[in-house]
């Protein structure tokens, strides 16, 4: 493991070096909020962002991607997977990526997702600033960064950069001349982790996530579903900004020569009206409340039963994205826990 301690200036120089050597994406300002985008220079990189509008899943499962090309009745796979560095992912988003890795590798390997994932070097940065709706500390994702290749933590005016994998080590090659992190700084980092793990929540989930699958079993007819869903636009915003939502739709598009075209997959959402509609027009989840409940069951029960992880990582994006202000997992799960 390489563990360096650098100033912001040295960090920027290192990042500029990475940008000169290949594609680097990081959080940048966008319309008063933040978004991951290609970095042109280190100065644009915000390591002190609160939360990005979309999670970094868009680099592994893009909102729109061509998966096949066909001509004259034959299909071939397409992929734009190429090496890149994803710089400054918050721990809760890393937790989400780790879940997606399991889901896309489980049972049937999704080579489109996995090829992009394999090409990525992911650098996590510890959270410096809380977003308005974060509750990561409440679900244990405020600090743990399992699965990342390297980790950046700001300690006072210094940054500790440490490699976790061989990929991470290669990335840190440009820091060879920087001093190793000193004991005092590392001790302060430990303290920061302890604080973040405790404090990075605006709201508190009053139920242990591992108890949710059982609690939800008895909550199918809870009034909260109808109550919240009556205000639901079925706009799917909560799905689309969620770092662990991965449902997709598949569509064909042809060129002007109709024997040639592409098969495309696009982000979909289980809250959308026709998500469970079949070709004969029968909609198996017609009611808003059924769809609303489905989403919370996926996060709290279905996905946990599939991969063992609570599928809400506490980023709070859904809370912010919901115009009707009904998409708060903390509120919903606390309500479920109350009556039990």
């Amino acid at each position: 493991m390489i563990r360096k301690q650098v100033t912001r200036q040295a960090l920027d120089a290192w990042v500029d070096g990475l940008i000169a050597a290949g594609r680097v994406v990081g959080a940048q300002k966008k319309g008063g909020r933040y978004a991951f985008d290609d970095l042109r220079r280190a100065a644009d990189l915000c390591l002190d962002y609160d939360v990005t509008i979309l999670p970094p899943k868009k680099y592994f499962l893009p909102p729109k991607e061509d998966i096949l090309r066909f001509s004259d009745g034959r299909y071939e796979s397409v992929s734009d997977a190429a090496p890149f560095t994803l710089l400054g992912v918050h721990p809760y988003d890393m937790a989400a990526i780790a879940q997606m890795d399991k889901l896309f590798a489980q049972d049937n390997r999704d080579e489109h997702y996995l090829a992009r994932r394999e090409q990525a070097t992911v650098v996590v940065c510890d959270i410096e600033r809380m977003s308005p709706n974060i509750f990561a500390a409440s679900v244990g994702t405020a600090t743990a960064a399992d699965g990342c290749d390297a980790l950046i933590t700001r300690v006072g005016r210094a940054y500790v950069i440490e490699s976790h994998t061989a990929k991470g080590e290669r990335l840190l090659a440009g820091l060879a001349g920087a001093p190793d992190a000193d004991a005092v700084t590392l001790a302060r980092r430990e303290q920061l982790w302890e604080d973040n793990a405790r404090l990075m929540s605006r709201r508190e989930l009053r139920v242990e996530p591992r108890r949710l699958p059982r609690l939800l079993e008895d909550a199918y007819d809870h009034p909260v579903w109808e109550e919240k869903a009556s205000q639901c636009f079925a706009c799917g915003s909560c799905n689309l900004v969620c770092p662990t939502c991965y449902c997709f739709d598949v569509q064909d598009d042809v060129e002007w020569d109709p024997s040639r075209g592409v098969r495309r997959r696009v982000w979909d959402g289980c809250m959308l009206t026709d998500f469970a509609t079949v070709a004969g027009k029968h909609n198996f989840r017609k009611n808003r409340a059924d769809r609303y409940r489905h989403r919370y069951y996926r996060k709290g029960k279905y996905v946990p039963e599939k991969i063992g992880d609570f599928s809400c990582v506490g980023c709070g994006r859904c809370v912010s994205a919901c115009v009707a202000r009904i998409a708060d997992p903390v509120e919903v799960y606390n309500r479920i826990a109350e009556v039990q």
């Binding site: 080579e111 996995l114 991965y246 098969r263 997959r265 070709a279 198996f284």
Partner: protein, 282 residues
């Protein structure tokens, strides 16, 4: 190529393999029968009840049940109701047309498991006969392995009945009881009129020896299961094939979920005892 350098694209779970529509024939005003051959010449390798994803280039992809028993010849059969873009396009394709196939996917009727050595009761509504036909053919192909065979088939009208030559043959087969009914008869209809459950009270079955296989429109299951319960058939011995929007077929896209169950992987055939408390199932 998918998977980056060195990754064979054969691993892409979304890539259809080339196939050809060998023959086709209209069955009713809305349903058409197809015989499909994989260009590789390999057999599909399915079991009764499984489905495939059929691609028509430029139009899209749709999940379709395999309607023939495995191993009858190198090809496999589909019956397609014209209800959407892909199925409409299929109806318009001539013999020899190129299509894409992925699969087979999903679970199958337990022809080599729970059904073996037992009496079998098939209950099919409308195109519910399509996947079940595969199991019926399999059972008849391996006749000594099963007890009494009963087939109930209900459709909306006489002209909606599928495979009338084949059902007539079943009706004339020793050891097979075949009964059919229509919701509404027409001028020439002399058979039974009424929904499929009206055939059930007259059945003489031994519930302890019977395995029931049920497939039909969404509304049908509830009522058929009530009748089966009256006949004392246990939930362990009821198998249902459930239709959902199996878009990707490989447990990823999420469209086919019945609560937590991905129908494309855990279904479409379920033992009813496993889904009788799953709220979205029937």
């Amino acid at each position: 190529m998918c998977g980056g350098a060195g990754k064979p694209e054969a691993k892409d779970i979304y890539r259809p393999e080339p196939a050809t529509l060998a023959r086709s024939e209209g069955l009713t005003a809305h349903e058409r029968w197809f015989e499909v051959k994989l260009d590789s010449g390999r057999p599909l390798g399915h079991m009764p009840g499984q489905f495939v994803e059929i691609s028509v280039p430029g139009i899209g992809e749709a999940p379709i049940s395999v309607s023939s028993a495995p191993g009858r010849n190198g090809a496999f059969e589909l019956v397609v109701r014209n209800v959407g873009n892909v199925t409409r396009a299929l109806h318009g394709l001539p013999a020899g047309a190129r299509i894409g196939v992925r699969g087979p996917f999903g679970t199958s009727f337990p022809v080599d498991g729970a059904m073996r050595g037992r009496d079998v009761l098939f209950i099919c509504g409308g195109i519910g006969l399509v996947p079940v036909r595969s199991a019926i053919q399999y059972v008849l192909d391996h006749r000594p392995d099963y007890g009494a065979v009963t087939i109930l088939f209900g459709t909306r009208s006489p002209s909606d009945r599928l495979f009338t030559d084949e059902t007539a043959k079943w009706a004339g087969t020793r050891g097979v009881t075949y009964m059919e009914t229509v919701d509404r008869g027409d001028a020439g209809w002399t058979g039974k009129v009424g929904v499929i459950t009206t055939l059930m009270p007259d059945l003489k079955i031994d519930p302890a020896r019977t395995v029931a296989v049920v497939c039909g429109p969404p509304i049908m299951y509830k009522f058929v299961i009530i009748e089966l319960h009256k006949m004392k058939v246990a939930d362990e011995n009821i198998f249902v094939s459930l239709e959902r929007n199996m878009k990707c077929g490989v447990g990823k896209c999420g469209h086919c979920q019945i609560n937590g169950l991905y129908v494309c992987r855990k279904g479409p055939v379920f033992r009813y005892a496993d889904v009788n408390d799953v709220r979205e199932a029937v």
